[in-house]
Assembly symmetry: C2
Homo-oligomer: 513 residues x 2
């Protein structure tokens, strides 16, 4: 089993005194530019990775003082909050207050000390999640661990292990012990395996034991489709694409077969007690999310959202952290309403959406259809975006798809950070733009989301090393380079300025007659 190690091109990994990891970009000007980093020890300069052994646990994990939510309410700034404050460049008090209000969550199971603390909330940088996991049809454990490392290398803030095939427990163990980011799961997938795939034979006890098993392993957040109620099922009948959430459809099948209310809903209080013991965060699933543009924002979707609001209050009363999952497939003009309603119904619990895809007509390119929706929904206040890969709706993502999905979502998240006025976001754009304008090609590559691809594309047209310092590029050639001409113009203007100063004229540059 091997994974990608080594620093990102043009950067090295550094840690602050507080232990916060940074990707330090070394500019050709002699300066450096530090970036938020999710890649864990795999990108350390002298990384020694032993996957069998797992990552070293961080010190200071407290197991007996309750959840981050409970401790924030008590006024405490935990070690995790202090770490996050430095990581985000925000005051520790803000981190504590946002957690206390339930507007942010810190998914950090006491049993997952390998994880570097991070925060999900709209006051902070927008986060992205990458789904991995094998299915009955394909994929192996080694591939999934490799995908996890690969996804975090390119910027995934959390990982969800959605395995459904054999070896669910073992796959998850490998991922948890080696993941530097929080890991989420959907426990009902494993529960269903335990009953050989027949949803009607599921029981609360089997489900509960599965949740405890995963809590013990160290899962940081769990998707629970407790908002799919029996009376909502008829609302999906006239839909173009019915129920497209696996968890939602499993619970619907169970409810119809037994003609009773969902055990996830009825035993939600018991679930809260379990999750509170480990500080596992709820990710309340949207089992009735739309599966097509036609079904967006319909009665079924919003009925469930109302129930998620009710469950949010119960979870918080138990001191359990909560975030809310959102769609899915939504045309652009219906996106913002999702955020407003979620904030209103769910007390501003962090919203965590899957895309949404802004159109259904581009299978094979759903990282793009959904990056459009993701950027818009994040600008409106969504705290974390679940990526969609080019293979969505068609097949399981391979390594290339995982990277394509992560990069597309880093773009969406960053575009939203910019639009929200996040100061660090603007600084990075400015640094890269300045490098571009000054023909510092190496710096432009190093500051980008994917230095390898940027350099490779440049080399395809102008491979020679001198081209990396050339004051033009292949698009326009030397004669037409607007940026070179602009530099000449500035020189000319400086000269004019000088003349102006000498002449004492008040017009900076004479206007045309």
């Amino acid at each position: 089993m091997t994974v990608s190690v080594g620093s990102i091109s043009g950067s090295s990994k550094v840690y602050t005194e507080g232990g916060v990891p940074l990707r330090r970009v070394h500019l050709t000007t002699g300066e450096h530019f530090d970036l938020y980093d999710t890649s864990g020890p795999y990108t350390d300069d002298n990384a020694t990775i032993d996957l069998e052994k797992g990552l070293a646990p961080r010190a200071g994990v407290v197991r007996d003082k309750g959840t981050q939510l409970q401790r924030a309410r008590a006024g405490e700034i935990t070690a995790e909050m202090a770490f996050i404050a430095e990581r985000e460049g925000m005051p520790a008090e803000l981190v504590r207050d946002e957690v206390a209000r339930g507007r942010a969550v810190i998914p950090a199971n006491h049993h997952h000390p390998e994880c570097e603390p991070m925060i999900i909330g709209k006051a902070f940088a927008v986060k992205i999640n990458a789904n991995i996991g094998n299915s009955a049809v394909t994929s192996s454990i080694a591939e999934e661990v490799d995908k996890m490392v690969w996804a975090t290398r390119w910027g995934a803030d959390t990982i969800m292990d959605l395995s459904t095939g054999a070896d669910i427990h073992t796959t998850r163990e490998w991922i948890l012990r080696n993941s530097p980011v929080p890991v989420g799961t959907v426990p009902i997938y494993q529960a269903l395996e335990k009953v050989n795939g027949d949803p009607t034979t599921l029981t609360w006890e089997i489900y509960r034991d599965t949740v405890i098993e995963q809590c013990e392993q160290g899962v940081d957040y769990m998707t629970v489709h407790a908002g799919v109620l029996l009376r909502y099922i008829p609302l999906t009948v006239k839909r173009v694409t019915g129920i497209v959430s696996r968890g939602g459809s499993i619970m619907a099948a169970w409810m119809l077969a037994h003609h009773r209310e969902s055990f996830l809903y009825e035993r939600f209080g018991d679930l809260c007690d379990i999750l509170a013991r480990y500080d596992v965060t709820f990710s309340l699933g949207d089992g009735l999310r739309p599966g097509s543009i036609a079904d967006a924002n319909d009665a079924a979707q919003f009925a469930e959202l109302e129930t998620l609001g009710e469950l949010t209050k119960i979870a918080k009363a138990h001191g359990v952290q909560v975030m809310i999952e959102g769609p899915g497939h939504v045309p652009m003009h219906k996106i913002v309403e999702n955020v407003r309603l979620e904030e209103e119904l769910c007390d501003e619990a962090p919203f965590y959406t899957l895309g949404p895809l802004a159109t259904d007509i581009a299978p094979g390119y759903d990282h793009i259809t959904s990056a459009i929706g993701a950027a818009i929904i994040a600008q409106a206040g969504t705290a974390m975006l679940c990526y969609v890969t080019p293979k969505e709706h068609l097949g399981l993502p391979d390594r290339k798809d995982v990277k394509d999905g992560v990069i597309a979502y880093k773009i969406a998240a960053h575009a939203a950070d910019l639009a929200k006025g996040h100061p660090r976001a603007q600084e990075r754009d400015d640094a890269l733009s300045k490098a571009r304008f000054e023909f510092r090609w190496h710096d432009q590559f190093a500051l980008s989301l994917d230095p390898d691809t940027a350099r490779e594309f440049h080399d395809q047209t102008l491979p020679a090393e001198p081209a990396k310092t050339a004051h033009f590029c292949s698009m326009c050639g030397p004669k037409f380079c607007s940026m070179r001409i602009t530099q000449d113009i500035r020189d000319a203007m400086d000269q004019k300025s000088l003349e102006f100063a000498e002449q004492g004229n008040r017009v900076y540059l004479p206007l045309s007659s």
Copy 2:
């Protein structure tokens, strides 16, 4: 010299009685679904293409009655307008009225009869443009003709030939004679070649003669950077990326060298007279567009836009059709203001924007950074989107980049059509979603923007032909297929319905206790 011919997978090319081309998707249900088609005779069933000879000219081109704008004002519904009305599924009177108001343009040089008439305006489907063209550094004529055919195959509504190297005239001739879509150019590029690349030696006469040469050849629209005035240049000095438009920087260099106002601005009336004779459409260039997030919506950009508004009125007074070019690089929260200002200052002339990129940090992925901005600006009313390829800022696009750029922009344009409530847009999404839900894999591929890639991705995980009719896919496998479970739920609900009817009960589905 060879180009791609043959129908798009799962479709055949048909023509209406009015000669309007359609991509007819043949569904496995026995029905068909017709799509707007830009690909020209190259996708005809028995295409016989002779690039040396060029495409057959369409009949009925009238050369002596003035421009589409003048004829629309006179109340005439031209042959082009009738064709477009059928192509867009809109009343011919609406086409005429939008053209008469200057809210839409029909770029159709009398000397380019190979072109299938199309319209650019916010009342119609959002259009996309693909840039091609060789530079001094690389590329050949054959490659550019191939890219033109390739781009229109995947949906480019217009092509811009941005060649700057040798053989500009000949390259353009090959493209024009073989292009089924309108062709745009930036005449100053060729004018600069004529003075060996020194902008300061340009003259009005050289520029004018170049414009006439291109009008005679059949260019349908021309980018003219007549809004860059001498007094605006100082506004760019403190920018992070100065002037990034080639045309803008060339004119700025000329003005500074001669210390005079732009000849494009001063001789704009003469230009109008020339373009009116051929019905060539102005694309008023944004020579001061922002080249980075930092420079978006600044004083230089909006000063030029105001001048473009002034020029729009002059062009219209001469009976010349006009559209307005827009940025560029703009963070999401500043995008909509561009459309509002353009509409206000330029009498709602069609807006034609380059992206905009919503962030600068992802060179190598600027088709995505810009598709986000493009979708948003199109939703706000932009009529045509100029694509950006993955190679933007790094190198010249090859065949793959052209397709990636076109598909990303078809996604953005279509997402905007959906958000604007275009009825045909919604129908296509619904048809594809329904095929997806019913496991009609072949139909899902055929209805998509890129059937080849959709099929290839599906085959990578489940290659066998039986998988194309399987009622599950590789993502979840048979046990976890939410869509299969939903079908089962519907069957169960139908049974319940039946029982309900027999019992005369008024509750559709009993609620949980």
